[in-house]
Structure formats: structure tokens, C-alpha cells
């Protein structure tokens, strides 16, 4: 009787343990099932490289949105990556432990600010500033990039801090003993050792930026055109899905799922690279602390 219960529990737990991977497969299955037949019907070339998105006329080209997502994501990384990595270096190497123990959780706490709130601040504070000082409609690639750049900061700082913290202290001591200044030790030794973890943090942040939806809808302006300057209003892949999902039916809805397929694949690639980078760190330099 007792033996039986143990066996049953173990089987049950094994089943439960596959819930995450099962969910992942289910998600992939349903997004692809709705989207892939559409892509094949329209033709991947027309879908990905045509600039004409007018669902009423049966035209579904997402090229402008791909470019928009690309610009905004790269812009966000230009802002978020240096700031975030700088923050991580500073907190790890140049302030006492006690300060870092307060500041790091504070920054992670701020990761909890809802994306709609980031978006709203972008609309009421940032967009008017851009409109009056730089021109254009305000709601633009630049506004989107700045808002997303700030939103990914906690991700970059948190993971980079862990990576830099995992560099053995003997590395620093060795460099300092050779007469290096603190900064020389950091940029010549510590950063090189923590490089893959830092890269992983940036790529994960990129994944977040590509996938972010609500904030981007609010600040990027959503115009359906290929941007020519950072001050142009654009619509990203995610914004396109979220804005039109409410009313879409038939082909139109399938087209939105097909947009989801593109997004899904991009995110999977980014996350795989990041995971591989992290694994190399753990595998390569095993001695944590």
C-alpha cells in the first residue's frame, strides 16, 4: 500500500514536471497552426518583404513593421545596454557591499513597474519634449527606443551584476597586485571574465524589447510606414498584433497570428543565444566566488 503511494506520487510529479514544456509546445503549436498556413498561402516573400498592409484589400505585408521593430529594439539597446552595464560595474566594483545590497533590489523592484505605466509616462512627459525640441510628431522611434531602453535596464543590471559578481576575487587581486588601478583591473580583467554573462544580459534584454507591446503601442505612434528618421512615427510587429486583434477575423486574424510566428521565432533565436552564452560561462569558468 505504502509502496504504491510512493510510486503514484513519483509518476504524478513526473507528469507535472512536464507542464512547462507542454505549455511551450502547445503555445508553439497553436500560434504556428494559425499562422504558418497563412504565410505559405500568401508566400513568405510577399508577407515579409511587401510594404503594403491593408487587411480590407487583402494585402498583408509586414516589412515596415519588421523595420520598425528592428530600429526601436536597436535604439533601446543603444540606450539600455551601456547604462545598464555601467550600473552593474559601478555597483559591483566601486561601492561598498552594503550600498549594493540596497540599490540592486531597488532597481529590481522597479522592474515591476507595469509596462503600461512606462508607456503612459512616455506619452505625457517624453513625447512632448521630443516634439518641441526636436520636431516631428513626438510619438516616434526615438520615444519608443528611450522608453524601452529604460524598461530593459533592470534586466541588464540584474544579470550583468550576477555575472560580474561571479568573477573570482583572485582575478581582481592579481591585477591589483601587478599595480593596476581599480579601473584597469575592471576593464582589463573582470569584464573579460564576465563577458559572456554580460552579453547574455544584453541579448535577453533585446528579447524583452522586441516582445514589448503595450508601452510601444502608446509611444511609437503606430504609423504604417517605413521610418526614414528616428523622429518618424512607426508601428512595431507587437503593436500591430495588439491593435488589430480586437476586430480581426478570417484572413486578417490569421495574418496577425503569422506576425506572431515571426515574433516567436525571433525571440526563440535570441533566447537560445543568451542561454548558450550563460551556459558557456558556467561550463567554462566553474569556480563561482
Amino acid at each position: 500500500m505504502k509502496f504504491n503511494r510512493e510510486k503514484t506520487v513519483e509518476r504524478l510529479l513526473l507528469t507535472v514536471a512536464f507542464s512547462a514544456i507542454a505549455s511551450l509546445l502547445l503555445i508553439a503549436l497553436f500560434i504556428f497552426k494559425e499562422g504558418v498556413p497563412f504565410i505559405l498561402k500568401v508566400g513568405p516573400r510577399d508577407f515579409l518583404l511587401s510594404s503594403d498592409w491593408s487587411p480590407q484589400a487583402g494585402k498583408f505585408g509586414i516589412y515596415p513593421m519588421i523595420i520598425a521593430s528592428l530600429w526601436i529594439t536597436l535604439g533601446a539597446m543603444l540606450i539600455g545596454a551601456p547604462l545598464g552595464v555601467a550600473g552593474a560595474i559601478f555597483l559591483n566594483e566601486f561601492v561598498p557591499r552594503s550600498v549594493m545590497r540596497i540599490v540592486k533590489p531597488t532597481i529590481e523592484l522597479l522592474a515591476g513597474i507595469p509596462s503600461v505605466v512606462f508607456g503612459f509616462i512616455g506619452v505625457v512627459v517624453l513625447a512632448p519634449l521630443i516634439r518641441t525640441h526636436l520636431g516631428g510628431p513626438g510619438l516616434s522611434v526615438l520615444a519608443g527606443a528611450i522608453v524601452l531602453g529604460i524598461m530593459v535596464l533592470p534586466t541588464v543590471i540584474s544579470i550583468s551584476t550576477d555575472a560580474i559578481g561571479a568573477v573570482p576575487n583572485t582575478y581582481r587581486e592579481g591585477a591589483l597586485a601587478l599595480g593596476a588601478t581599480r579601473w584597469q583591473a575592471v576593464h582589463m580583467v573582470v569584464l573579460k571574465a564576465a563577458r559572456s554573462g554580460i552579453v547574455a544580459s544584453i541579448i535577453l534584454a533585446m528579447g524583452r524589447a522586441v516582445g514589448e507591446t503595450m508601452a510601444v503601442i502608446m509611444v511609437a505612434g503606430n504609423a504604417l510606414k517605413i521610418p526614414h528618421s528616428p523622429l518618424d512615427s512607426v508601428r512595431t510587429l507587437t503593436a500591430n498584433i495588439a491593435m488589430e486583434m480586437g476586430q480581426a477575423t478570417g484572413m486578417h486574424r490569421q495574418a496577425l497570428f503569422a506576425t506572431g510566428v515571426v515574433l516567436f521565432i525571433v525571440i526563440m533565436i535570441l533566447n537560445s543565444i543568451a542561454t548558450a552564452a550563460v551556459r558557456r560561462r558556467i561550463g567554462g569558468k566553474g569556480n563561482k566566488k
Binding site: 510512493e6 513526473l14 523592484l109 515591476g112 503595450m214 525571440i267
Partner: protein
């Protein structure tokens, strides 16, 4: 000309300090700005009365209820699955191909953007299983979304329980399952609750995954098959459609306070947990 190392050090520290302060300043500014504009709107009346005229006037009570019920439902679904997975990974198996697959799945799931969860929840729960826009559809979708968080924090918490505890339990003749239930889980509880709180925080602030699964209904749900609107979705609607900036700020203030308090509770628990462990 080469700058002496003493000066590069000073310049570097100044730049790094500036970047860190800028980060903190921006994030604190956002919170301060919203609270400053929103708190004057918030009152007992605002929290506990029904919205009128699509939210132009009145309070936010139904959305407050939605923001409580939906995360609770999501946790009720995700917690058994997440903790079960963590128990299996730590207590019942060694590192095998299967655990690698499980871990890979968890990592991938964690990286999926919320709009994809929204699409999936809509086509699977709302349309195919015919749950409609409802608490149930929203809760199930959010449960999948927070599953990785729960698995990871639970696994860490369970691994932190010292091996000697288990050995003592086994030596007293307890089975594996008895050891899990009576020794391992009670000791890992604060850590597990940390994950649960973080999950609740994510649910409260989520918009994209909720709007397509739980819907927009502005009334109190009577069953899990009723549509509900959360504060985050309500705030988005108010701000986006320009319905009422004043009420939008008020909602945002309540939303931010709710999320920060939940996350704060999570960190407080985690610290207590770590403090007890290292004693």
C-alpha cells in the same frame, strides 16, 4: 598623449556613477510622477465605488476585484504545477536528459513575450475551449506565463534546505514523499512564497496577455466564466482612449502601489529566508 591611469580611474568612476545615478533617478522619477499626479485622486470612494460612464467618473472597484481574483486564480493553477516540478527536479531525479528538456522548456517559456501569451490564450482558451473572455481564460493564460518564475524560485528554495534534514527524516523511516511534505516543503516555504509573490506582481502589472483573454467587462464577475477587467487594462483603456486622464492617474497610482507592495513583500520574505539559512 597617454592619460595617466590615475585620471582614467577618476573619469571611469565618474561616468559609471553618473550612469547608475541616472538609472535610479529615472526609475524613481516615474514612480514619483505617477504617485504625485495620482494619489490626490485616490480616496476610499475611488477605490470602492463603481465606475460610471466608461470610467469617466466614479471609482475602480470592479477592476480592483479583477486585479485580486485573476492573480489568485493564476497562482492557484500555477503553484501546484510549479512546486511539483521543482520537487521532482530536486528530490526525485538526478540530472538526466529529461531534466535538461524540462529546464530548457522552462527557460524558453520565461522568454516568451506577453503578447504571444495573449494570442495563445485567445485562440486556445477563449475560442477553442469556448471559455470566452473570462476570469478562467485569463487565469489559465497568466498561470502559464508565471509558471517559470514559480518553478525557478521553488527549486532554489528547495535546494537551499540542508541535506542533513532529509537524512534525519529518512533515518527515522520516513518515505521520500513524507520527507518532502513534512520536512522539505515546510522549510522551503518562505522561498516558495517569494516566487508566488513575484508571480502575483507580474499578473497585476500584465496587460497584453490579459486584455485578449479576460476581456474588458466593467462589472463584478459572478463566476469564473464572466469577463473581468484588471486595473492595468482599465488604466490602459482610460489613457489610450483619452477617457479620463484624472482617473487614469488615480488607477496608475493604485496599480503601482499594489505591484511595489507585492514585490517588496517578496524581497522581504527572501531576505528573512536567507537570514535564517545562514544562521
Amino acid at each position: 598623449m597617454r592619460i595617466p591611469p590615475k585620471y582614467t580611474q577618476m573619469i571611469a568612476v565618474a561616468v559609471l556613477a553618473g550612469a547608475t545615478l541616472a538609472t535610479l533617478a529615472v526609475l524613481l522619477f516615474i514612480i514619483g510622477y505617477v504617485l504625485n499626479k495620482g494619489l490626490p485622486v485616490v480616496s476610499f470612494q475611488f477605490l470602492f465605488s463603481n465606475p460610471e460612464d466608461m470610467g469617466r467618473a466614479g471609482g475602480i472597484f470592479p477592476t480592483l476585484v479583477g486585479s485580486v481574483l485573476l492573480p489568485l486564480l493564476a497562482i492557484a493553477i500555477a503553484m501546484p504545477l510549479g512546486v511539483g516540478t521543482a520537487v521532482y527536479l530536486t528530490e526525485y531525479t538526478r540530472e538526466t536528459r529529461a531534466t535538461k528538456v524540462i529546464r530548457f522548456g522552462t527557460d524558453c517559456l520565461a522568454g516568451i513575450p506577453s503578447i504571444i501569451f495573449g494570442l495563445f490564450g485567445f485562440i486556445f482558451f477563449v475560442v477553442m475551449l469556448q471559455f470566452g473572455w473570462s476570469l478562467l481564460s485569463g487565469g489559465l493564460t497568466l498561470a502559464i506565463m508565471i509558471l517559470p518564475t514559480i518553478i525557478r524560485t521553488s527549486e532554489e528554495a528547495i535546494r537551499a534546505v540542508p541535506h542533513s534534514y532529509r537524512e534525519v527524516s529518512f533515518s527515522l523511516g520516513a518515505t521520500r514523499w513524507e520527507t518532502v511534505m513534512k520536512v522539505v516543503l515546510p522549510n522551503a516555504l518562505p522561498g516558495i512564497v517569494t516566487g508566488v509573490m513575484l508571480g502575483i506582481g507580474r499578473c497585476i502589472s500584465e496587460t497584453a496577455a490579459v486584455i485578449f483573454t479576460a476581456g474588458l467587462a466593467l462589472r463584478l464577475p459572478r463566476s469564473v466564466f464572466d469577463s473581468t477587467r484588471t486595473m492595468a487594462v482599465h488604466f490602459y483603456t482610460l489613457a489610450r482612449e483619452g477617457i479620463s486622464n484624472e482617473n487614469a492617474y488615480g488607477t496608475a497610482a493604485v496599480l503601482i502601489i499594489a505591484v511595489l507592495l507585492t514585490n517588496l513583500a517578496a524581497y522581504w520574505l527572501m531576505h528573512r529566508f536567507i537570514a535564517r539559512r545562514t544562521k
